[in-house]
């Protein structure tokens, strides 16, 4: 029967030796594997990994179909399939032989590797070898002759002129890996060929490749053949064993790591970010060192094959930002090869290994994650590391401002929460308040759709469509805060959690509703995927799905098919992250649009660049805008009528990009709802309904209209009387004969120095240096506001409350002083009602040790001197070594409280400091800023008081987590006695809106206008201008 001898020509010594080497090789391989596993075990848990066998089943499916590898690079995918399946067959073949030769035959005398089975076996294995050979040659050809750009390891996006040393090693490793496989396969075939040449077996054609190699050796003498065969046998055998030993040590480890990464891949990676773990020692959040990564993260590092698919897909890299997901993973791998799951002493991960700029470049679009054939979750790691950046205050100043605005008012626009639903005021109908009335549908509007003027138009269109479709929907109005998708992706987890808790609680409190709808894919993503981890939430749908249903069910009928040539941009958070690709396309088809796809569509959609908080980080000079790259792609589809979006951020980004990239004349950008409105002739529907609406005007609506009119009448009346009063006052001031009553007999002139208020407050005993920082919670006024009945104040609900920026600077200065000295206590004091405690908490979160709040009813109109007296009362009790105050407040801008406080305490003082230098005792050096930026350097004796100008430092960011943790810190509340309550250095007569002006138009030709402008400039700025 057909078979062949194993270990041809080997004596028992040789066989024993080979077995010994074989076992040693397997041992070495096992050691390498154990070493890797031990490294992974140092990682933190990976909560996103699917439990049970589902992950393994999915991974097996990935491998058998090669679906992750064939995408967007079929050649590489096919070559990989050839090598992969070839090796799988060879491995199975070897196992089959081992089973017979080493187990069944010696123990039970059973043999099966013969006859027909042997022939089929030989053919299969031979063809498998051929497949590997072809695959490897394809790979080599691809790399050697026309390497795709994605395989270039030179970091062009960093302007690196040449390969870095590690990249050179990567190149060697790539070629070495291919060469090793080639060597093993070729020597295997040579061995076969030699056997065929020597033995010329009758079944030879069952090993066609072997037979072919045999022909090559046909002319060799028997002696030569025998000699080569003996040497090549050992060569092939040792090469194969060496290959096995080396597997865990270089690129080849992806064979196992990629399987692990694919099996442990979070099916909702990035769509649902993992909750952070607090690292025990530092008490910080996020990944700041290698030990903070999960085991899955570490498996991911090893799984990367440098295929470059992510590098190619990344919008940040393409726009010239310092981020390539591939290089991000490779740098971490390189670090972990040395660190092995521990932290290397003297190195910081963010800084030495990964540049913070790299982390901030990401738009969390998920393009890298989507295309990675090995199941690596790049953006999740980026967000985890961002959490650390946020925690340690390494944030772009503008982003910091945005986070501050979201924390203060619940929206990224810094608008008063009250204005959230103002867009709905312009509708012809009242939108239900879901807090008061049950509705079928709760519309969670989101920030952009609520506040951005262009998106407000879209929101109104959507509302009108919903009404036309007779949907029963309501809003949460000002109870809604931003959903927090981007906040979470920035890495401000604490703020995200508080937003999620707030919104969930408001939904709980609202009247019954069945479903949630939103126009914003970012909101959709976080509500649908992330909120369930924080509480119960109704099913969430995107408006495109709803529009699709309404059109297909006939609730909306297309009256005018649009006949437009359109292209559609898949929003990252709707498409890639939530796999919703079809509804918008079906809508476009229904309304008669001819859809032309951009080359990059569906899962390969190209991000607009606004995600992950990038919307609020200024663009880096010298970079391109992803949105511009995208509209250029669309412009290639010329002629094109409409670039269709279904995401508020997309609408802003692409409308902007269309202009800046110069396509204003070529096509328009429109939201899908606007097209639907046109197709269903929404205007006509409303007009047709109008009489009906009039008839059905309910008492409630009538009341509302009446109230609105009354409000306006009242407002204009107030304004008129204010104007009248103002002109009267002016007259009085100028006219010589006094129409006013003679001033009341003035109090006799006498010097009556003010004294600190007497407060019932005992400060804790001093144990060293004490710095007192005075802080104020300021009111920021929106565009609309009303006055109190007496005309002497503004209604408190018209304000957003914030920590005064100047005081924030003073606090930062104090914190930096005690941090530099390594000792000292920072006490923050404020004069404010109970809600000012939030501001004190913020100061405590930043690092102040204690807070003191002074308040009593009746202090609402306190002037700077009245406030200074109260602060002085606290200062007397605290006996600080240094007092720091903001130079002014952002609301009243008196720039007086600090200096008044200094005089009350008889302390030396310096105003408007932009720098201080102090050793904790003796004189303090202060650099003051004068007009025009001139700096004035002085030295003063301490204790003293200094007021800080903004820009002196960059105040740190207090994360929501730090604010929550600061709840433990003490705040003393101090009352004010009647005697100290009434003092005022000034009395408010009234508050009014200054008269609005419309530009006086300058007439004449250009020369005349220019001359007038010059005169205006000189008049204002002096002759020097």
């Amino acid at each position: 029967m057909e078979t062949r001898a194993l270990f041809w020509g080997l004596e028992s010594f040789g066989i024993t030796l080979f077995y010994l080497i074989g076992f040693a090789a397997m041992g070495a391989f096992a050691w390498g594997v154990v070493r890797a596993v031990r490294k992974f075990k140092r990682g933190r848990p990976s909560p996103g990994a699917p439990g049970g066998f589902s992950g393994i089943r999915r991974m097996a499916g990935d491998l058998l179909t090669h679906r992750t590898l064939l995408r967007r690079d079929p050649l590489a995918g096919c070559a990989h399939a050839a090598v992969f399946f070839g090796f799988a067959v060879l491995f199975a073949g070897t196992a089959i032989i081992t089973l017979e030769y080493d187990i069944l035959a010696p123990l039970f005398g059973i043999t099966y590797w013969k006859g027909t089975f042997f022939k089929l076996f030989s053919l299969t294995v031979d063809l498998a070898g051929l497949a590997i050979l072809v695959g490897v040659l394809l790979f080599m050809l691809r790399r050697g002759t026309y390497p795709p750009e994605k395989l270039d390891y030179r970091r062009g996006y960093l302007d690196e002129p040449e390969l870095r040393p590690a990249a050179r090693r990567w190149q060697m490793e790539d070629w070495g890996f291919l060469a090793a496989i080639l060597l093993i396969i070729v020597t295997g075939f040579v061995q076969e060929g030699l056997r065929h040449a020597m033995e010329r077996p009758a079944w030879g054609n069952w090993e066609p490749v072997g037979a072919f190699f045999g022909i090559l050796f046909a002319s060799f003498s028997a002696e030569t053949l025998r000699a080569i065969r003996a040497v090549n046998w050992w060569f092939h055998g040792l090469a194969a064993l060496t290959f096995i030993v080396a597997l865990p040590w270089y690129k080849a480890k992806h064979i196992f790591a990629a399987m692990g990464a694919l099996a442990a891949r979070d099916p909702l990676a990035l769509a649902r970010l993992p909750k952070p773990e607090t690292t025990s020692e530092a008490g910080t959040v996020g990944v700041g060192g290698m030990t903070d990564f999960s085991w899955k993260d570490m498996v991911d590092f090893d799984a990367c094959t440098k295929c470059g698919r992510c590098h190619e897909a990344c919008p940040a890299r393409m726009a010239g930002y310092p981020l390539s997901p591939r290089d991000f993973i490779l740098d971490l791998r390189l670090e972990n090869e040395a660190a092995r799951g521990r932290d290397l002493p003297g190195r910081t991960l963010i800084g030495d290994v990964i540049d913070p700029e790299t982390l901030w470049s990401c738009r969390t679009c998920g393009a890298c994650l989507e295309i990675c054939p090995a199941g690596i979750e790049h953006p999740v790691k980026i967000v985890k590391m961002r959490r650390q950046l946020v925690e340690t205050d390494r944030i772009d100043p503008l982003l910091k401002t945005t986070l501050g605005a979201i924390a203060a008012s619940g929206n990224s626009f810094g608008e008063p929460a009250k204005k959230r639903a103002h867009w709905a005021r312009e509708l012809e109908f009242t939108v239900k308040d879901a807090r008061k009335e049950a509705a079928d549908l709760l519309w969670f509007v989101g920030d952009q759709a609520s506040f951005d003027p262009r998106n407000q138009q879209v929101s109104r269109t959507v509302a009108r469509i919903f009404r036309a479709a007779k949907l029963d929907f309501g809003l949460l109005f000002e109870a809604e805060k931003t959903a927090g998708n981007d906040v979470r992706r920035i890495g401000e987890e604490g703020l995200f959690e508080s937003l999620a808790e707030h919104n969930l609680a408001e939904m709980q409190k609202a009247k019954a509703f069945r479903r949630i709808v939103t126009t914003d894919p970012h909101t959709f993503n976080t509500l649908a995927n992330e909120y369930p981890e924080f509480g119960v939430i109704a099913p969430v749908t995107h408006y495109t799905e709803l529009l699709c249903k309404l059109l297909e069910s006939g609730a909306l009928t297309v009256k005018k098919p649009l006949n437009l040539k359109v292209t559609f941009h898949d929003p990252c958070h709707l498409g890639r992250l939530n796999k919703r690709y079809d509804a918008p396309r079906r809508v476009l088809e229904r309304i008669g649009c001819a859809l032309v796809e951009m080359p990059r569509n569906r899962d390969n959609s190209f991000c607009c660049g606004a995600g992950g908080g990038r919307m609020w980080i200024p663009d880096k000079p010298g970079t391109k805008k992803p949105s511009e790259l995208r509209v250029r792609e669309a412009a290639e589809l010329f002629p094109l009528d409409v670039f269709v979006t279904c995401c508020p951020k997309d609408l802003i980004m692409f409308e902007d990009a269309r202009k800046t990239a110069g396509f204003e004349k070529d096509f328009v950008v429109a939201d899908i709802a606007e097209l639907v409105a046109e197709a269903i002739e929404l205007d006509a529907i409303l007009l047709a309904d109008l009489p009906n609406i009039t008839e059905k005007l309910t008492a409630a609506i009538a009341e509302r209209v009446a109230a609105a009119i009354a409000e306006r009448l009242e407002a204009s009346f107030t304004k008129l009387s204010a104007l009248a009063a103002a002109s009267a006052a002016t007259l009085n001031a100028v006219a010589a004969p006094a129409p006013v009553a003679a001033p009341p007999p003035a109090t006799a002139w006498a010097i009556q120095p003010l004294a600190p208020a007497k407060l019932d407050y005992d400060a804790p005993a001093k144990e060293g240096l004490r710095l007192l920082v005075t802080v104020k919670q300021i009111g920021k006024l929106g565009d609309t506001f009303s006055f109190t009945a007496d005309g002497r104040g503004i209604l408190p609900e018209d304000f957003e409350y914030l920590l005064n920026e100047w005081d924030d600077t003073a606090l930062e200065e104090a914190l930096q002083i005690v941090e530099a000295l390594g000792a000292g206590e920072v006490v923050v004091v404020t004069v404010g009602a109970e809600d000012a405690e939030a501001t004190l908490r913020k100061a405590l979160a930043k690092g102040a040790h204690r807070g003191v709040r002074v308040w009593a009813e009746g202090l609402e109109d306190a002037d700077p001197l009245a406030v200074a007296r109260l602060l002085a009362g606290v200062a007397l009790a605290e006996q600080p070594d240094l007092i720091l105050a903001g130079a002014q407040s952002g609301d009243q801008a008196n720039a007086a409280t600090g200096m008044a406080l200094a005089r009350l305490l008889n302390l030396p003082h310096a105003a408007l400091a932009v720098g201080t230098e102090w050793q904790g005792k003796g004189v303090i050096g202060v650099t003051r800023e004068l007009e025009g930026g001139l700096l004035h350097c002085v030295e003063l004796e301490t204790p003293m008081l200094v007021t800080l100008q903004t820009g002196a430092n960059t105040p740190r960011y207090a994360t929501m987590r730090m604010i929550k943790m600061a709840k433990e810190k003490p705040i003393a509340v101090v009352g004010v006695a009647e005697d100290d309550l009434t003092f005022r250095a000034a009395h408010i007569r009234r508050i009014f809106v200054p008269e609005a002006t419309r530009a006086a138009m300058l007439e004449g030709d250009a020369d005349a206008v220019a001359a007038k402008v010059i005169a205006l400039v000189r008049g204002k700025m002096g002759e020097t201008a």
Binding site: L398, G414, P618, D619, P621, N732, A733, V740, A741, P743, P744, A746, T747, W749, A750, I751, Q752, P753, L754, G779, K780, I794, D863, L865, A868, Q892, A893, N894, A896, T897, A900, R903, L904, L912, R928, E931, L934, L935, C937, V938, L940, E941, A985, A986, R989, R990, I991, F992, P994, A999, M1001, L1002, A1006, D1007, A1010, V1013, L1016, V1017, M1021, A1025
Partner: protein, 321 residues
Amino acid sequence: MSGILIVAEHTRGALAEASLELIGAAGIAREKLGGPVKVLVAGEQAGDFAEALNRLGVEEILVAQSGNPHFDAAVMEEAILVAARAQQPALILIPHSASGGSFAAAVAVALGSGFAADVIGIGFAENGLTVTRAGFGNKVNVELDFPGSACVTLTVRGATFKAPEGAGSATITPLAVPLEGLAGRYRHVGFEEAPVSDVDIGKAEFILSIGRGIQDEKNVPRFAELAKRLGATLGCSRPVADSGWLPKPHQVGLTGKVAGNCKLYIALGISGAVQHLHGMKHVETIIAVNTDANAPIFNVATHGCAMDVFTFADALEQCVG
């Protein structure tokens, strides 16, 4: 036991214009409060400024010599207290400036006087003196009075009142100020010039801003040069910064910088998006040039002109030579 006491300000040998403006403000107040109007100037070379301060309406100039040629808030406080004790003024006027703000409130505390800062208007009503000041980013004005205060200390916003023309006939009186109590508490170290290259929109007093109306990056240097010749800081709107035509620090607006100290703002080719207005609409004097006569920028501008920015720039370049 009456009248008005003005505190003059000088920095590095130059008298501040604000000192003269206070004389103008005092002119309005004296109609009700009565005279005399006295000006206090303190410092080592205080006498040098007496002549310049001798403007129409000033009765007496008090010259307080001190050993320090440079500004010292504590010396100012003591000098004002001495002068106030002697004159017993109904009103003390101090410039609202880096220097004035360093002692004005302290003076009010020491005297127990009424007090208001950054005053932009002075008037009278049933309780006597009233003043107007702005609040909440100039969104509202607040009118204050000082019932029961025999003396009121004010800091007055610069470029608000007009300095009187014409020389006065004031007598010049030396004022002795005891400074022993202050010894050792304060030392002047020196001045440092402001760095020239830095763009600081937040602190600039005069800004010339460009928007998309300038059409192309290559037009930027021309407007930069124009701004330089006018002595203005170059600002821009968001699209200009976004296109990378100017670095981000130049951007005025919600996502850029607020022109917090700007007194004069020239907007060229800026339509006036809300985001931009946020950063500049509060500026006292705004001059806008834009092709579109309906551009929202004209709703906030003081002076406007519907004209092509390049035509305007040509003419302006001619004017500045």
